[in-house]
């Protein structure tokens, strides 16, 4: 049987969920016995490949690039997992949502800076009006909250998905 293909990415997040994924310790051996990680910050691939089975997506959808990557991951993956509070609720990135984007950028890059370079436009993606949970941008199959989700919760979810079951977090469900 072919190995299951896992893709991961982080959008507007702190990478903490990926740290928690690494923190499953020797659990990774069992996961990699059944699956390959084919895309993400932990591997070299430059583009989200076709035919991914499980997409683990960390972070809120906050910029044009986030939205594009989320949409690509959705199109090319069977199961999309919103990994962590930012992907599930918007969490800390969404705390900017009460402030208009222009004001926010000016506050940071003009009022908050003594470099005088102004709001950057080259090489950075445009911010969306709101940093939103992943499910407001694309269809999400599994939600795993937590800031970050405990390694045990991530390992449980991966284990269930690799066995073809729908994970029920039960008592492992936790926000914050």
């Amino acid at each position: 049987m072919d190995k299951v293909k896992i893709g991961t990415c982080w959008l507007d997040g702190c990478s903490g969920c990926h740290m928690s994924l690494l923190d499953i310790d020797e659990g990774i051996v069992a996961v990699l016995g059944k699956a390959d990680i084919v895309f993400g910050p932990l591997v070299d691939a430059q583009e989200w490949p076709e035919g991914v089975d499980v997409a683990l997506i960390e972070g809120a959808v906050s910029s044009q690039d986030d939205l594009k990557l989320a949409q690509t991951a959705r199109e090319r993956s069977k199961i999309v997992v919103a990994l962590g509070d930012c992907a599930v609720t918007g969490n800390v990135p969404s705390m900017r949502n009460g402030i208009p984007t222009r004001k926010l950028l000016e506050r940071v890059y003009v009022e908050g800076s003594n470099q005088g370079a102004g709001v950057p436009t080259d090489g950075v993606p445009a911010l969306l009006k709101h940093a939103t949970p992943l499910h407001e941008a694309i269809a999400v199959d599994v939600h795993v909250p937590g800031c970050p989700p405990k390694p045990g919760a991530i390992l449980f979810v991966l284990g269930e998905l690799l066995e073809g079951r729908e994970p029920d977090l039960g008592s492992k469900l936790r926000f914050g």
């Binding site: 609720t89 918007g90 969490n91 949502n97 999400v140 469900l173």
Partner: protein, 236 residues
Amino acid sequence: MTDKVKVRIDGEVIAATAGQTILEAARANGKYIPALCYMEGLSAVGACRLCMVQVSGVARLLPACTTPVQEGLAVDTMSPQLHDYRKIALELLFSERNHTCAVCVSSGHCELQALAQEHGVTYVRYPYNYPRLEVDTTHPRYVLDHNRCILCSRCVRTCAEIEGAHVWNMAGRGIHTMLVSELQRPWGEATSCTSCGKCVQACPTGAMAEKGWGAEEMTKQRTVVSRLNSMRGEGM
């Protein structure tokens, strides 16, 4: 002797005391009905809608915290339908303001967070409202973060009914309702506040919290030591 009435809760017959609410009777008999705005010792207002139960023969759901028991009453407190309604109530609470567990003083000790986890709320189906709300830091000892307030009014009732100061009130209507101190004065300027802190303890979320624990927040009252010493007549 107090009058006893027989009621059936989830199929089990229990002897309740006349005058008790369904919630009180259930809890007195070791039965769990979730609730947020209810607090033992305070009047009940039926604001949070988490304790909604199905009373046999009544077409609509009723809040267990404000519905008195009656002889022969049969109540269903935990059907899948009620579970779904409670999930909806919780999700709407989350969607209304900015509840960010990761940066909240009450994370891990929050009744809203605990109830969401208990009810299997893995995400919020409704669009978030993202209101721009103030944090009142004017009180020297306590802080009020409106982002985390669910308008349960436990603080209002605690202050009015237990402390007898009635500093807190609700102002506005519907989604614009806000908790206010006195006549919309900042908390630190509320002259009727006794700084007893019972509202903080009654708050189910992190909306009300004690100051002094964050970085740079702890102000020490060093004069206390010297003053006590001089009051004892020593060092005069």
